[in-house]
Amino acid sequence: MGDHSPRIGTSRRVFLANLGIGALGVLIPTAVRAQSRQPAQTMSGPMRGEAYIRVSLPERTGVTPKVSLEQRDDLEKHLKCQCGCPLDIYTCRTTDFACPVSPKVHADIQTLIASGYSEAEIRDAFVAAYGERVLTAPKPQGFNLLAYVAPFAAIASFGAFAAWIIHRWRKEPPVDADAFARIPQAGGTADELARLDAAVRNDDR
């Protein structure tokens, strides 16, 4: 109580500073490298027709398609168009015929459905051809789990930290509790008010 020595000592500051510098040391080269590799898509630039990769699997005959139209549309909504737009295949192909990628991908999917492949098999074939970037959201497995867990973990940590701070506050009186406790009585007696008046006027000079 009343001990106001720095609660966050030098060692913690140094630790945080080192942590920050370390994080920046990783992030900056990564960002610079990514920047040099990845040209931005511009709205005024041409779409990337060359981004299309034909996806095919061994043809099967005499099979009944396992995927309904609704399931096909749903599958297309979980595959990202690679033309440079931010849309999924279904939305892109039904929005603009000018896209050089989504109608071709749709045709590939139709062929695979006709060959009797399931949604999962078709999705895996696209991941094998394009890589994971073809999915509109990363599969929640392995390293990708971090993407899903981190926001909630951060909020939980933040919440726990706030709860800990509140708990600590409730155990300790405010830093200048006495001063604040006096605030409601600032009206005081006539004599006290006169002294306050004089003191404030003096301060103003």
Partner: protein
């Protein structure tokens, strides 16, 4: 004029350097002459940047294609309004526009504080000088709109057709105003940290700028959503694109600050947190600019790639380092003046609100940057799209919506059981009744149901607050309902303006939830005279009959348009038209990819959204027809938020407001003559 403009840019660079140097020196050495010189340099920089901007605008309006920027983004047949918009339509011009806003804001700040905050002002001016210096240096050395071409083309490339939309003409400036307005609070925070003047003075100076930034960002984001909806043609208004996210990030932290600042004003708490939020808002604005302009993350909205990203990245790192150093070395000066007394109090509710807002900001930032992290770790860049952001942010958003209702109902310091019962009965009952009704009507989407229950709960809290306040005024002053309501808001602008903002949020959440029931009919092919039948989310039967395709020339484009006669449950609903546009230059040569003009029929219940995807075969139109429920309420909600923000900002509210702490009324000092 162009030469003058370019010259002004270089002189402005030198002037900003002088402004930063002498302001900091003046503050450190307590030299009034240096401080005054720094302030004059700030004004001079502003004037010079205005001259530089006028030079570029003149070049654009006179079609001076000797400038690469003018040739790249304009053409002689571009309508005047879009010629003006091209000022901020490209990389270099938008940077100059940003600098222009910053220079004007700097001038306003310096002038407005010529008799106030004198201890802080040298450092405020110095910090703003540094920011101006950075932007001017970036323009002069990396991305100048005054860069010349080796030859003068007869015609310019023109503006991207999708940018030729009224929404796009006013949406970017609003965002820029919002981004740049974060710089002023940041400058005050840096000044307060340097001088250790960390009482409430800097808060008063900062709050209105933070509100201004929030207001512009709100308007800019909603206009951007509207533009995406009416122009891009994919039927939605938010795609969690990195550039969209980058405008949302500072908005979230500013919203958090505007709530937590109340706790500091009233209780002297959360001082470290507020300083951090102000700095974070600025840093996120810069990070957003880095994302938009560096090409580090692909986005449909991004500017062309240039080395400008290195400038922003370096600046961002330095700004983070300086902010972190100043905050960590001033922790003791930022100790709270009071402590939280109960977990069930207004302060605690605001704290939870901050946890949710910053949590959402973190998840948006995390999702936006995760592809880079994935590439660094796995060597493969993955996509983090809409499904991810929806999965993570919908629960957080609903938590935030609940807090929007809970916060205003709880008393400051400590809420009693009686207080809670009195405040919560009506809003909770409203939400529960709405939920039961919606269940009975067949709503089964879990998230949507929760969203509507919470929306009705929050609407109940807002209605209750207005009803109680109005009733109190009527009984106290005998006013009519209209007068009592008007004066209630006018006399408590901050509080009731805030409730109006909350009402806007409620409408937006209700509209977002409505999209869970949208019905999409893609790839509809209609020959002349053919009819397509579809049912909307309310179970009504619609018909769309192709009236034929017309082709014509208009302004700077060649148009193919399909007209559809529509009926709903057999009743005619008029014609709907959607266009495919091929923009051409002044010689009739095609420019850019074809663009779509969406046909939208709006009612309070839904939008019928028709997109002509293309024309196949013999005049067969390929269409996408979508029923989007409740979309109009997104725009109404956005407008309400802006109106509420304006009410909160209205100056009188602040002047009438007492400073936090206590009010000491001074008795008049007796005049000498009266004393004798």
């Amino acid at each position: 004029m162009i030469l003058v403009g370019e010259l002004a840019l270089w002189v402005a660079l030198l002037m900003a350097a002088w402004c930063a140097t002498v302001s900091f020196a003046g503050g450190k050495l307590q030299r009034a002459d240096l401080i005054a010189s720094g302030e004059r340099a700030a004004y001079a920089t502003g004037v010079l940047v205005i001259v530089a901007s006028a030079g570029l605008l003149t070049a654009i309006l006179t079609h001076d294609f000797s400038l690469k920027y003018v040739a790249s983004f304009t053409s002689t047949n571009l309508p005047t309004v879009y010629l003006i918009a091209s000022f901020w339509g490209g990389q270099a011009g938008s940077l100059l526009f940003w600098t222009l806003i910053l220079a004007v804001f700097t001038g306003i700040t310096v002038f407005g504080n010529r008799a106030r905050n004198r201890v802080l002002m040298p450092y405020v001016t110095g910090t703003l000088g540094v920011l101006l210096l950075f932007f001017l240096a970036t323009i002069c050395f990396s991305s100048s709109p005054y860069e010349r071409l080796d030859w003068i083309p007869a015609e310019g490339r023109g503006m991207n057709p999708q940018l030729q939309n009224p929404g796009m003409a006013i949406h970017p400036p609003n965002l820029y105003f919002g981004f740049v307005a974060t710089h002023i609070p940041f400058a005050f925070v840096i000044a307060a940290l340097i001088t250790r003047q960390l009482d409430s003075d800097w808060l008063a100076a900062v709050r209105r700028w933070a509100l201004l930034s929030w207001l512009f960002l709100t308007v800019g984001i909603v206009l951007g959503m509207w533009w995406a909806y009416v122009e891009l043609g994919w039927g939605g208004y938010w795609a969690w694109d990195p550039v969209e996210n980058s405008s949302l990030l500072p908005w979230l932290t500013q919203t958090a600050f505007l709530h937590s600042v109340m706790i500091q004003e009233k209780r002297g708490m959360l001082r470290k947190w507020n300083v951090t939020l102000v700095a974070a808002s600025f840093l996120l604005a810069i990070l957003g600019t880095f994302i938009t302009r560096s090409g580090v993350i692909s986005s449909v909205h991004a500017f062309a790639t240039s080395d400008i990203g290195n400038w922003f990245l370096t600046f961002l790192v330095v700004a983070i380092a300086v902010s972190a150093y100043l905050v960590t070395t001033r922790l003791r000066d930022l100790e709270a003046k009071a402590h939280l007394e109960s977990m069930v109090s207004r302060e605690a509710a605001f704290l939870y609100n901050n946890v949710a807002l910053v949590g959402i900001a973190f998840s948006v930032l995390w999702g936006t940057l995760f592809p880079i992290l994935s590439e660094a770790v796995k060597g493969e860049k993955i996509t983090v799209g809409q499904p991810f952001f929806n999965a993570v942010n919908i629960p957080l958003g609903l938590f935030l919506l609940a807090l929007t209702g809970i916060g205003p109902l709880i008393a400051w310091r400590r809420a009693s059981v009686a207080n809670l019962r009195r405040q919560f009965v009506i809003p909770v009952a409203t939400g529960v009744v709405a939920g039961v009704l919606l269940l009975a009507l067949g709503m089964r989407d879990g998230y949507a149901l929760v969203a509507y229950v919470l929306a009705f709960f929050v609407a109940g809290t807002i209605a209750q607050e207005f009803a109680r306040g109005t009733r109190a005024r009527r009984s106290m002053y005998g006013e009519g309902i209209g007068a009592a309501l008007f004066r209630l808001v006018a006399r408590n602008r901050r509080r009731y303006g805030g409730y109006i903002v909350h009402a806007g949020i409620v409408l937006m959440f209700a509209a977002f939830a409505g999209m869970a029931f949208r019905k999409v009919h893609g790839d509809v092919r209609l020959g002349p005279g053919e009819t397509f039948r579809a049912s909307d989310p309310y179970g009504r039967e619609w018909t769309f009959t192709n009236q034929g395709i017309s082709e014509f020339k208009a302004l700077n484009r060649e148009v193919s348009a399909v007209s559809l006669a529509t009926t709903m449950d057999g009743r005619p609903q008029g014609l709907m038209k959607s266009e495919k546009r091929q923009h051409v230059d002044s010689r009739g040569a095609p420019t850019f990819e074809p663009s779509t003009e969406v046909g939208i029929a709006t009612t309070a219940k839904q939008d019928v959204y028709v997109v002509l995807a293309g024309i196949v075969g013999d005049n067969v139109a390929s269409l996408s027809i979508t029923f989007n429920p409740l979309v109009i309420w997104v725009w109404v909600g956005g407008a309400l938020m802006a109106i509420g923000g304006l009410i909160v900002m209205w100056p009188l509210a602040d002047r009438r407001r007492a400073q936090s702490g206590y009010i000491a009324t001074l008795r008049p000092e007796p005049l000498p003559s009266a004393a004798t």
